[in-house]
Amino acid sequence: MNISEKDILKFLVNPKTQRQAFEMIVRQYSEPLYWKIRHFVLSHEDANDVLQDTFIKAWTNLDAFKGESKIATWLYRIAINVSLDFLRKQKNASKIGTDEDVSISSKLMADEYFDGEEMQAQLQEAIATLPDVQRMVFNLRYFDEMKYSDMSRLLDTSEGALKASYHIAVQKITEYFKHKD
């Protein structure tokens, strides 16, 4: 059962019920947060790690939450930053690593928590070629069907810039498959 944000905030500001309130937040928001993270990091294990890091960051920075945005927006922002940090570390680690590159689509097809076909694995590979922020915009719009107005509040970017970013991302993915064919 979802608890209203107003009730959660009431418990959150009270030091005696703060931990209880945070547990309500974890229960209520872990699933939607997980799927946003998973679209970035692709594997379940990585998504689980990033999700936990997100909540730890939120817990240790509770005093930074001023109620000027919704709890969900605040959490999504933390999740996006943690996901982007994770991707950057992953890219740096792959540059240093000497193992032969295994394509993303091959990794996904071998992943027990990926149910898709080869084509869908290749789409994920195409998305992974986008710059990080553009990839984020693409995932939020294409898979989550998030409204541009909500995305604008989440990312603190104008709707026009987001629409342009999404349009360019779609073009790049289309071009990717044209060259592949």
Binding site: K16, R27, S30, Y34, Y142, Y166
Partner: protein, 119 residues
């Protein structure tokens, strides 16, 4: 929906085919809270609801100020114009009637009487 992604959606679908282990979300909160370290309660202060609307309120206040100033300007200039017109009309009436009186050799009383009759 954006038209630009219609081709991609027809080819690849709209859902990412990821899944999670059974019971993952049910267990996540319990396992996470068990591991979450205790900490001294943080001071969480929620800004009043209108803080979120500060930029919009500032713009609205500026617009109100401009509208009110313009309204006051129009109001005062309207009255001053009316006053000027009334003074002008009075002086015009007096001058005109005096001139008429001289020309027609009528006295003022007869002229005023004719003006009243013509209303």
């Amino acid at each position: 929906m954006d038209k630009s992604d219609q081709v991609l959606r027809r080819k690849f679908g709209s859902k990412a085919p990821f899944r999670v282990p059974d019971g993952y979300f049910d267990d996540f909160a319990n396992e996470f809270m068990d591991k979450l370290p205790e900490q001294k309660a943080r001071i969480v202060s929620i800004s009043p609801w209108w803080h979120y609307y500060r930029p919009a309120m500032f713009v609205a206040a500026c617009i109100c100020g401009v509208v009110m100033s313009f309204g006051i300007y129009l109001h005062t200039s309207h009255f001053s114009n009316e006053a000027k017109i009334n003074v002008h009309m009075e002086s015009l009436s007096n001058n005109t009637i005096d001139q008429m009186a001289d020309y027609t050799m009528l006295d003022n009383e007869e002229i005023y009487a004719s003006l009243v009759d013509n209303q």
